[in-house]
């Protein structure tokens, strides 16, 4: 059975913005887009490891603050001519709370 971890209130996430969550397997970026959807990905750009939570959020993408790679929040893949991908983390909103899938953050412990 899948277990979800409560990471905070939806209101803690700024619109067209993001926050990061620290886990034993590294940081996760949680994003809220203009259309009120919430996404979570590993907070490391596939290019040089830039902190994606610090980027500008537009549409369902974020632009990395270090070298302007554009990363899809849905697939984790780099857009345009750049190649690479970051792991996506299952996230869901229940009422006013945001939850992430526990097995997704523990995966690297097992491996």
């Amino acid at each position: 059975m899948s277990i979800w971890i409560d990471i905070g209130a939806l209101d803690d996430l700024p619109l067209r913005g993001s926050r990061c969550v620290q886990t034993p397997t590294g940081k996760i970026g949680v994003f809220r887009t203009a259309d009120h959807r919430v996404f979570a990905i590993r907070n490391e750009c596939p290019h040089k490891g830039g902190p994606l939570t610090e980027g500008i959020v537009h549409g369902h993408s974020v632009t990395c603050p270090l070298h302007n790679w554009v990363i899809s929040l849905e697939t984790g893949e780099a857009q345009g001519a750049d190649k690479g991908a970051v792991e996506t983390i299952p996230v869901r909103v229940e009422g006013t709370r945001v939850l992430i899938l526990r097995s997704a953050i523990g995966a690297r412990v097992a491996a």
Partner: protein
Amino acid sequence: MTERLVIIGNGMAPGRMLDHLFEAAPAAYDVTIFNAEPRVNYDRIMLSPVLSGEKSFQDIVIHDDAWYASHGITLHRGHRIVGIDRKARTVTSDQGVTAVYDRLVIATGSNPFMIPVPGKDLPGVLAYRDLDDVEKMLEASQKGGRAVVIGGGLLGLEAAAGLKLRGMEVTVLHVMPTLMERQLDPAAGYLLEQELKRRGIHVITKANTKAILGEDRVRAVELADGTLIPASLVVMAVGIRPNVQVARDAGLEVARGIVTTDGMQTSDPAIFALGECAEVGGQVYGLVAPLYEQARVLAAHLTGDTTPRFVHQDTPTKLKVTGIDLYSLGDFAEGDDREEIVLRDASAGVYKRIVLKDDRIIGTVLYGETADGAWFNDLKKKATDVSEIRDTLIFGQAFQAGQGGTPTDPLAAVAALSDDAEICGCNGVCKGKITGAIRAKGLTDLDGVRAHTKASASCGTCTGLVEKVLKLELGDRYNPAAVQPMCPCTTHGHDEVRRLIVAKGLKTIPAVMQELEWTTSCGCAKCRPALNYYLVCDWPSEYADDYQSRFINERVHANIQKDGTYSVVPRMWGGMTSSSELRAIADVVDKFAIPAVKVTGGQRIDMLGIRKEDLPAVWADLGRAGFVSGQAYAKGLRTVKTCVGNTWCRFGTQDSTGLGIRLEKFMWGSWTPAKLKLAVSGCPRNCAEATCKDIGVICVDSGFEIHFAGAAGLDIKGTEVLGHAATEDEALEIVVALTQMYREQARYLERVYKWTKRIGVPEIKRQIMEDLPRRKAFFDRFVFSQRFAQVDPWSERVSGKDKHEFKPMAVVGYQEAAQ
């Protein structure tokens, strides 16, 4: 034997259910209804027209007294059920009436949610739910005065429009940045807000209600930012909650609503739930269409036909305010696997957006022209493959019928226009005048047409048409690519966007995107920071800086480094410092174990490798020592380098340090298109290296030489001489006026030297050195703008602003994460 059916609630859903039931099996049940409201079943959706005066209560009655009588229904009006005894199969009302049931339907609807703020129980504070509320609103509106509606969703806006029509001054408070954000994307929300404002309704978004004030009656509403809005009536329309109390007390399974199967049966097989109080498949519903569908399903089950099942369908949303056309359906979020088609016609106030996935419509938002809503809904429901008609889909059904599905050639459409067809509405220019000018003057581009005919020179929305006329006249000789668009979201170049922001008075990013017909719904990382700067520059007192459109360095007021840590540079005015400042910096470096300290090229001290979480504490310590942010990260004034001047130097001619400090104190905090670095040298030996700066001052015996447009980065370039100033005051005025001209005219990320190269040194000299009233006007606008810009971002954040930026949202420990 006739079974006994008891219904708790007398709203639209049970009313519709009974219509179906009596049609299928007129004599199957003996029906008893308990209604907490003292009246018959009426059309609750039409309360807004009753409020606005377009309908009366009699017009909206669904079932009159005769209907209840003819079906032998016992209706207990004004009875609230206080208990269900599931063993005995009875219900009991607050007035002591008990009824026995074989089947029970709970249709208790929902309760309005009242925000738990002080004063919410004062007389004059209402919900918007039933006829009683409407009657109280009408009573209040007869006295005139001011109303505040809390909640910018469907109900709130309908209440606001109704109260306005009844003659009240109305203010709508909405906690989100745009209205009806659940049904509308930001672009359509913006149009709606404009229309409401045009009707004289005040709208305040991002409004957090702190308290409702008054002694024996409501007097005003107070917002979290301290704003007071006087009000004799407050309507709260912030949402509804399923009314599940009686079901919960009876021990039925309740989640958000009363949990039912897709046959509307609760956890007790003899009890059903229906309407807003029911939760089917994890969803609760508030719009009438799905509730009527539930009524149809339940009626069938009560007659023994258990085949119909409730299936979720997206329901379109419409706003019932006369004259506002708005339609929203399905899922209109963006996504990589989705395509969007956007049509904006700014002059007609039309916005349409269709979201496609795998060539099928999954959502749509229409504003201003909603006639095709039903057609789009139909295509969506049937999951029709629209790839064949994709190019013209957004023009609607009539277009397809007229064209047989063949896309038209837009150029041919312009060619077919007669010579007297109007192209530019703003300036009344017809096609013949443009073609005439092109031929007579030998024009080859848009600027030429604008200069000679004024077509497309005002609002610019006809630019596409004018370009097609050019193309038809000139054929391949017309090269439209002369203007580089700002980014792929628009066809406009930077200059065009800046001109239109001022000409059309556009004061928010959604306003710019709507009026200038952006092709994406919320821009990209290229255009958003540029638009944010243009708006900050052009409307300093009005525009609310959008932090989500700023690059990280300007958002957290430090410079991001390659490992994700930050560097911090405090301001040292004119490069001067002192033992106490140096001691404070040394203490901060020790306390936070800052790994590197470096002197910068701009005569400042840089502390590198600071963790983001530590930034507010670092600033707090620096702030106590008197430091403010050095803004070493900003597209704004960076540093003013100085030499020691005639205070110490045997060659110094003026107080260059003093002038540098004065300039920096005058100009700090200002945002500019790109970074702006200054220097003041005390003599032509130029120890402060002023002749490779954006703006430099060289002191001489007779005064001050003002230089500009130098570069010492990607390009190396010595400065140009702008002119001579006799006094320090005059030098300051010239430097400041030049900065303001650059702020108003340059493109985002364009350094002074590139801007100068583009428009020419003589033009800048003309505006700053020859046209003195203009120079004074530039200076005054800069001074005005500084009133809003000179806020130390560090002390703001030490006192708590944006504190979410510096803390993780959550920390998940090993224990919690362990499988």
